[in-house]
């Protein structure tokens, strides 16, 4: 028998050996697919979205680990009693057969099933392939880790012990060794990132292949244990040392032909910048710093355009002799707060512009503010000393566009990049409507800059009456079912959105059966136009009040500036400033 024939023979024998386990695996995939296609639906059909997600993850991960381990351990590579060791089976053929079997069962099969499922749910082919591929990457990571552990263990009990040891080693590496390295070599420490899932996945899969090949060809167990440990260290170190994902989308400046930028200027809103205390804990050490947030107002551009800051470098220059100069980059933290005066924030105007000549209504409007600086607490100890606060902002210019329009009827469906959506039902209720929408979303797989801050929105539009209602995401009841999370950081979710629209939902527009009959569902999404850089300066900024303590009183304390005198109206916090102002769809 030639080598390929031998590999196929060995694979076939493994299928027969594990046929019961594989049948269960097939059932797991099918049940997961069926549940996902059906969607979480009413709470009566599924216990809860949490148990749904966790249940699927545990079963899928667990079964992948158990069967992969048994696949490897059934032809043990340890000891001297394995049957295959005294048969004319080339080790390379056995290695190939085992890796191919594991890849086909636990990587290729989920890729095909998930890809087909996403296609069936209306996703575009590219997105379906991407979604399937991401699940495949995640499965490949699990399989690789399991293979490394199964090579040097003889049963599931030992595998569990090896797994615990591996997790412990990586935890010690992450929690103890890396901080020590960071302390000893600050240059290395400063370059550590939070981790790159894709780099980690590639490193683990590559490491698994190397360890498996080495072990099958040499059968040197302790060497393989050392190699596997090194591979896990390397994967962890690589992912931490890999440059973090860019904050700024890889797009160029806004072309003048698209948007003349010379007239665009930036100012803070009448609401003054505010200062929040931010507490961080690093090990046993706790530090407090100050986060400065501003609401930005841009002028000198068409109403359909809005700007979203993505990076800031802030300087706090105290003019008094011997006082502090602080300069540093900032982590931009978008926040939001409700508008109490119906003022139209930038995104709102852009959405309105995209929808055309309609009266756009909504229960609430939201104003976005951005944390432009996070300063060490020491800076604020120089209280009362006037300073110049200057922040250089890099922003992405966006314009909302209508991505999809479908009649507001049951079974109307549409797709957009990373999204497939179908209206399940539109039910007229007493003076309102209840819309059930099933969505399949490929989160995080979209190119950076595709969407300003994930702010896609659904709008009900009635062209005949020139009216539209922006549906706020808080008014949807959402249920998620995730099929891919761990390795890639990308989630594919299936959501059911239900919106009940009582009369008070839209304050100016009355929604009734006749209105709904003429209505259409519109998806609006922001499209990036390019980057724009502007500076924002506040002269004579000085700290009022008490600083350096974590207390409710210190929260929302203002900076004083000529633009925003000390007696300003405190901003209204809604849900905390750390909440991303995610939009209606994704």
């Amino acid at each position: 028998m030639n080598a390929p024939g031998l590999v196929v023979h060995l694979m076939w024998v493994d299928i027969k050996a594990h046929r019961a386990l594989l049948a269960v695996w097939a059932i797991v995939l099918l049940v997961q697919t069926a549940l996902f296609v059906q969607g979480p639906g009413d709470s009566g059909r599924f216990v809860s979205s949490v148990s749904y997600d966790i249940g699927i993850a545990i079963v899928r991960f667990g079964w992948t680990i158990v069967v992969t381990a048994l696949l490897i351990q059934s032809d043990s590579l340890l000891g001297t009693t394995a049957f295959w060791r005294t048969r004319p089976i080339p080790r390379a053929a056995l290695l190939t057969a085992k890796l191919l079997s594991a890849s086909l069962w636990f990587v290729a099969a989920p890729v095909v099933v998930v890809g087909a499922m996403l296609l069936r749910l209306g996703m575009r082919p590219f997105d379906a392939a991407t979604g399937g591929g991401l699940v495949g990457v995640e499965q490949a990571v699990i399989v690789s880790m399991t293979v490394m552990a199964a090579l040097v263990t003889v049963n599931l009990g030992q595998l569990v012990v090896a797994g615990i040891a591996g997790v412990t080693v990586v935890a010690v590496f992450n929690g103890l060794l890396l901080p020590v390295v960071a302390l000893a070599w600050p240059a290395v420490g400063s370059s550590l990132s939070g981790g790159q899932p894709t780099v980690y996945a590639i490193a683990v899969v590559g490491g698994g292949l190397v360890v498996a090949t080495y072990h099958y060809l040499t059968l040197r167990s302790w060497h393989s244990v050392a190699l596997a440990t090194a591979a896990m260290f390397l994967a962890t170190a690589l992912t931490r040392l890999w440059p973090a994902a860019p904050v700024v989308p890889p797009i160029g400046p806004v072309p003048e032909s698209v948007l003349p930028t010379s007239a665009i200027s930036l100012a803070t809103s009448p609401l003054a910048p505010r200062v929040d205390d931010v507490a961080r804990a690093t090990g046993a050490r706790r530090s407090v710093s100050k986060r400065v947030s501003v609401e930005l107002t841009s002028t000198g551009h068409p109403p359909g355009i809005y700007f979203w800051p993505v990076m800031a470098t802030t300087t706090m220059n105290f003019v008094a002799p011997g006082a502090l100069l602080w300069v540093g980059p900032s982590v931009l933290t978008p926040g939001e707060r409700a508008s109490r005066d119906d003022s139209e924030g930038q995104p709102w105007r852009s959405i309105h512009a995209a929808l055309g000549d309609v009266d756009l209504d909504s229960p609430r409007r939201w104003i976005y503010f951005t944390s432009v600086a996070e300063l060490p607490d020491d800076v604020f100890r120089a209280r009362g000393i006037p300073a110049q606060f200057k922040t250089d902002l890099t922003m992405v210019a966006y314009r909302y566009e209508v991505t999809a329009v479908v009649p507001l009827k049951a079974n109307a469906a549409f797709s957009a990049p990373g999204l497939a959506s179908r209206i399940v039902s539109v039910v007229v209720v007493n003076a309102g409507a209840r819309i059930e929408l099933h969505e399949t979303i490929l989160e995080g797989a979209l190119p950076l800059g595709h969407s300003g801050f994930g702010a896609s929105w659904y709008v009900l539009r009635n062209n005949a009456r020139h009216q539209a209602v922006l549906m706020m995401w808080r008014d949807f009841k959402r249920f998620s079912a995730t099929v891919g999370i761990a390795a890639t950081g990308v989630a594919t979710t299936r959501r059911v959105m239900e919106v009940d629209m009582p009369p008070e939902f839209a304050r100016r527009i009355t929604i009734d059966a006749a209105w709904l009959d003429q209505a259409e569902l519109v998806l609006v999404e922001p499209r990036p136009l390019g980057l724009l850089t502007r500076s924002l300066t506040i002269d004579n900024a000085a700290r009022n009040g008490t600083a350096g303590r974590l207390s409710p009183a210190a929260m929302s304390a203002p900076l004083s500036s000529p633009d925003a005198p000390g007696s300003h109206r405190p901003p209204v916090s809604d849900g905390g400033s750390s909440t991303p102002p995610a939009g209606g769809v994704r």
């Binding site: 031998l6 023979h9 050996a17 059934s74 394995a82 049957f83 060791r85 005294t86 048969r87 004319p88």
Partner: protein, 305 residues
């Protein structure tokens, strides 16, 4: 003479223990060679080293002309291996195991395999995990004979088998190896009766060292139980030949095992040490008696050590 197995100063150490030490052994092609020795003597380690399941610590071994450390698929196609320590694929039926093994061997003889299965009385459709120990050993033998290997290596194949199964097992081996082209069989065993029945060469190993290896006929020819009657009660003198094992005396009767028996010089050698000898008789020994003698001698040496 061609040798199926050759070892030169082969040693295998586990920590501080020499499982096999300086073992030099030649197994002629075409013979049935039995390696015997007490528990822990190093028989299994020797076989595992020969089969490349363990690398030697020092020395070398070659099997069918291939260095044991390089024993790979091409050599294994010519070698059958049966061991009580082998993990058979328990989920398979015997028929599954035959179907599993057949593609590995170009010389697999399906008809011969079927005949062997009938002869050994192996139930083809029974999962191996539900088979008795004897049936498992017969199944292992079946898939190790069906491709007519040039060398059959067996490690303690008779252990724990009842008399009937042992008979079937031995008959199967004898039937298979007795064809036109004689196979070489290398078997380690405690079971002296089966060894006596099967082997035409025998080697003895103790504490990892080879004591001797020679044709069974030669072994039986040079071992004699010698009984000497002296005219007066005496004590055992010092300086007895090392070839005289287990010497004992009771009144006027002296008994020992001569391992270098030669009819012509027995009398003079005995009388040189026992001048009052009035009767000297030498009784041929069975293989079983020889190995019991050797085992008792080894134990005595261990106790003295």
């Amino acid at each position: 003479m061609q040798y199926a197995i050759e070892t030169e100063h082969l040693s295998r150490r586990f920590g501080r223990t020499d499982a096999v030490s300086d073992l030099s052994l030649n197994v002629p092609a075409g013979c049935v060679f039995a390696l015997v020795g007490p528990n822990g003597a190093g028989k299994t380690t020797t076989i595992k080293t020969l089969m490349n399941l363990l690398p030697p610590t020092s020395g070398r071994a070659s099997v069918l002309g291939t260095d044991s450390r390089k024993l790979g698929p091409s050599a294994l196609r010519r070698i059958g291996y049966v061991s009580e320590n082998q993990d058979l694929p328990a989920w398979m039926t015997v028929a599954d195991m035959m179907a599993y093994c057949a593609p590995f061997y170009p010389t697999w003889d399906t008809a011969f395999a079927a005949a062997l299965a009938r002869q050994l009385g192996v139930p083809l459709d029974k999962p191996i995990k539900r088979c008795s120990r004897g049936t498992r050993m017969k199944a292992a033998l079946l898939v190790s004979l069906a491709y007519r290997p040039e060398l059959l290596v067996m490690d303690e194949p008779f252990g724990g088998l009842d008399a009937l199964v042992r008979e079937e097992f031995s008959s199967g081996i004898l039937e298979a190896v007795g064809g036109e082209r004689p196979w070489t069989v290398f078997v380690s065993s405690h079971d002296i009766d089966e060894v006596e029945r099967l082997a035409d060469w025998v080697g003895t190993i103790n504490e990892g060292r080879l004591v001797f290896a020679e044709p069974v006929s030669s072994l039986i020819g040079r071992f004699r139980q010698v009984d000497v009657v002296v005219s007066e009660a005496a004590t055992l003198p010092g300086g007895l030949p090392v070839s005289w094992l287990l010497p004992e005396i009771s009144g006027r009767a002296i008994r020992f095992v001569d391992t270098a028996y030669a009819e012509s010089d027995l009398g003079p050698r005995v009388r040189a040490l026992f001048p009052l000898a009035v009767d000297i008789s030498a009784t041929p020994m069975s293989l079983r008696q020889i190995f019991i003698t050797l085992a008792r001698t080894f134990r005595g040496q261990e106790n003295r050590a």
